[in-house]
Structures are given as C-alpha cells and as structure tokens.
Amino acid sequence: MHRGKGMKFVGDSRIPAERKPNIPKDYSEYPGKTEAFWPNFLLREWMVGAVFLVGFLCLTVAHPAPLERMADPTDSGYIPLPDWYFLFLYQLLKYEFASGPYTVIGAVVIPGIAFGALLLAPWLDQGPERRPIRRPIASSIMLLAVASVIFLTWESVDQHDWEAAAQQGAIVDFEVDEESYAFEIWTTQQNCINCHGGDMLGGAAAPAVFESDYSKEEVIDIIKNGAPGMPADQFEGTDEELEILAAFIANDGQDPEDD
C-alpha cells in the first residue's frame, strides 16, 4: 500500500486519486486445470442453475403445496404428523425406551449426543487423514447415523395411516343450492352476510353457517339467541322464512324436500 508523502486524494475524501486497473487475475500458472470463478465458472454454473430451476418449477406446478382445513384446536382426535425431515425424531419417540417416562432419552439425550457429536466432529476426529477409508471409525459412525435416520423415517412413513390422514385434514366443501328459495331469503339478510358472507361459507368474522351439525331447532335457537361472537335477533323476516332458512342450514345448503 502506498503511504506517506505524495499521496493524492479525491477531493477532501480518503479515496486515493490514483486508479487501480480492473484486470482479472491470471490463473495460467496455477496447478492443474484451475480456472477463474468469475466469469468462466459462474457462467457455466448459471446454466446448470437454470436447468435446476426449470425442473423445480415443474415440480411446483405439478404438485401444489398441500393445505388442509383450518386449524381446530378442539379436534383432539387428529393424528399429528410433522414435516418429513422431522419424522425420524418423531418415530424415535414412539419406541418404548424413548417414550413415556423415558421421553427425555428420545427427546433430549439421543438427539443431543448425535447433534453434539456432529458439532464437535473436528475435535472427535483429529487425525490428519482425510480419506473416509483411512478413518474407519468416523466414517462408520456417520454411515450408521445416516442409516438410522433413513430407517426411522421409513418406519414412520410405513406406520402412518395416510388415508386416514388425508381424510382427517381434508377441506370440507359445502354445495350450496343458490337457486333455492331459502338462499333467496339469505340474500336479503345483510346482517348475516356481513359476518357469514354472501355465499354462507363464512369469512374472517364467522365460520360457515353449516360448520357444525346442528339440527333445525338448534339453528333457530342460535339465530334467535345468538352465539359466542354472534349477536341475537339479527334475523329480519317472518317466522316462516326463518324456518325455511334454518332447515336449509341444518341440511348443509340443500332444500330438505330435494332429498
């Protein structure tokens, strides 16, 4: 670096006035077929990256990300499943030696030892040898660990009831008969629509009116007396209309006569 007297700066800044040439480094004297990362190597990598990206985009178009129905914390019958890369841990906790009173072993001790050893690998394996064959202990422990993770994941996938899982999470769709007289009554109920939406399927403020399996009488009761988060006496119309609407709601969006 240039220092001392005779240095010229740009204005009153500390930027040296003398420009450095912008020339890439020359690797011709380097061993083997060394090449420059920029731009030679990176240009080629970008093409590989583009192919990779196209394949990836095809995957996302062919398999949209799954979405189940909205979380219902009261549904205690739901069989939970974490994302696939946590399955090995989840499976471990199902074995007798790692569950119940021994949960600590499955949840903390075994993963703790495994990940702790991974973190400290450079100090557990200090020899100068780099080839996996020449450090059999380190290599076999790693192979064993990988095999166990694959095995546990496999077992977990195998034991999970995928059909029941798909069903328990499925989004429930209601077919609302929008031609019916009952739906016509609904379209006049601006109060209801404000919360339950013009399609009766709910929105941010309220669930679909068909959400629970209420009977006609229970629906009438809710409409007359309200519910948590829903005010009473919002219905505007005759008792007869209320009956028709309630029957329609209790029948999940179809006129009861129709079926």
Binding site: V10, I15, K20, N22, P24, P31, G32, K33, T34, E35, A36, F37, W38, V48, G49, F52, F56, L57, T60, V61, P64, A65, P66, L67, E68, R69, M70, A71, D72, P73, D75, Y78, I79, P80, L81, P82, D83, W84, Y85, F86, L89, L93, V104, A107, V108, L119, A121, P122, W123, Q126, E129, R130, R131, P132, S139, M142, Q168, G169, G203, A204
Partner: protein
C-alpha cells in the same frame, strides 16, 4: 455507458479492489465437474445457497398476502393458493424449496464429512455449518405452523410437547416459543416473528461467516 458509470463510482468510492477481491478466486481442477464428473459433490453447497435465495425471494412474496393472526392466517393462505394469480406457484416454491434446501444441505454436510474437509484448519467453518443446520431446522419447524391448518397446528403441539420434556429448560423453552400456556394466537405471532425475522437474520450472519471463511481458506485440496 456502463463503463462510464463504473468509472464515475470508482473514482469516488474506489470499488475496484473490493470488486476484484470478490470476483478473483480460482476454481481448482478437483472441484470442477467440467473436468471430473464426480466433482459434482462439490456443487451441493452452491445449490444449497441457490435454494436459500429462492426461499428468501418466495418468502418475501408470501408476506405480501400472508396475515399472521389466527383468524386471517388460514384465509390468507387459502386466498393466495386459490385466488391470486401464480399464488400457487409462489407458495409451491416456498413449500418444496423448504424440503429441497434440507436435502441439499444434508448432501453438502455428507460431502464435507466424507472428504474430511472439517479438519484443521476448517474446524470453525464446520461449527458454523452445523449452526446453519440448526437454524434451517428451526426455519422448517416455525414455518410449518404459519398456514394454520390442521397439520400445522397439531405438529406444533407435538413439537412443543417435545421441547417441554427437556429437563430444566423445557418449560421455559416452551413458554418462550408458545408465548404462554396455550398454543394459540400468541404462538402464531411468535413463530411468525421467529420465522421471518430472527432466524433469517441469524442465517444471513452465519452464511456471511461461512463464505468469508471459505474465501479466506480456499476450498480443501484433493484427497
């Protein structure tokens, strides 16, 4: 024209040394798949980074629609998935990318392990790598809750039960993550903050350290 702009900035900020520092580094023969096909294993780190960039970009677009509260979270994801043009692709990229990044990172870790590249003088970079591994798993765990659908909610319940079973710190860890006793509104807000601010911040810092060390030390030599 571009050259003129470059020169104009360079005169004022002297960026050439910095730029040459970033651009000039060599790719040795033994890591270049163009010369030895088996060297593709050295690409896993770069691919992990590529997918990480996809995650950050797609995640940024997701937050343009996502609303992190228990009433609107599900609705907003549903809307994005079913109504927004290309929303299904953006969400798909983030969803599948989350899996892909774990796969790539796993392969990269195995490459580094089986080439013995974690040995002196690269111990510190290995440790940083394992920390990145943990951050990535944390991102996966916290991100899983955000759509607030059935699988999200109950997987989180189980995950937090596991955290709670840890001795001494278990209860504290659970309360910290769940934001209270019940898994509900607070939990979702916490997970959102952790997923979108805390962990990506940590990830970027760690990645910076990771790349700095690689550049400083160079890639490990041939076996």
């Amino acid at each position: 024209m571009l050259q003129k702009i470059y020169d104009w900035i360079d005169e004022r900020l002297d960026i050439t040394p910095m730029w040459r520092d970033i651009a000039d580094h060599e790719v040795p023969e033994h890591v270049n798949p163009a010369h030895h096909f088996s060297a593709f294993v050295y690409c896993f780190g770069g691919l992990t980074f590529f997918v990480t960039v996809i995650q950050i970009l797609s995640g940024m677009f997701l937050t343009m629609y996502y609303v992190p509260d228990i009433i609107h979270a599900y609705e907003s994801v549903y809307f994005l998935q079913n109504e927004v043009t290309h929303g299904v692709i953006v969400r798909g990229m983030h969803h599948w990318g989350a899996s892909l990044v774990i796969v790539m990172m796993f392969l990269h870790t195995l490459r580094v392990f089986f080439t013995g590249s974690y040995k002196k003088p690269r111990e510190l970079n290995w440790v940083v790598g394992v920390l990145i591994f943990f951050v990535m798993l944390g991102l996966g765990f916290t991100g899983y809750l955000l759509p607030w659908d059935m699988k999200a909610y109950f997987a989180t319940v189980v995950g937090l039960e596991i955290a709670e079973s840890a001795p001494v710190i278990g209860g504290f860890a659970k309360a910290l993550l769940a934001g209270g006793e019940i898994i509900g509104a607070q939990t979702l807000t916490r997970f959102f903050a952790i997923h979108v601010f805390f962990l990506p911040g940590a990830l970027l810092g760690l990645l910076g350290a990771h790349f700095y060390m690689i550049r400083k030390q160079g890639i490990s030599g041939p076996l």
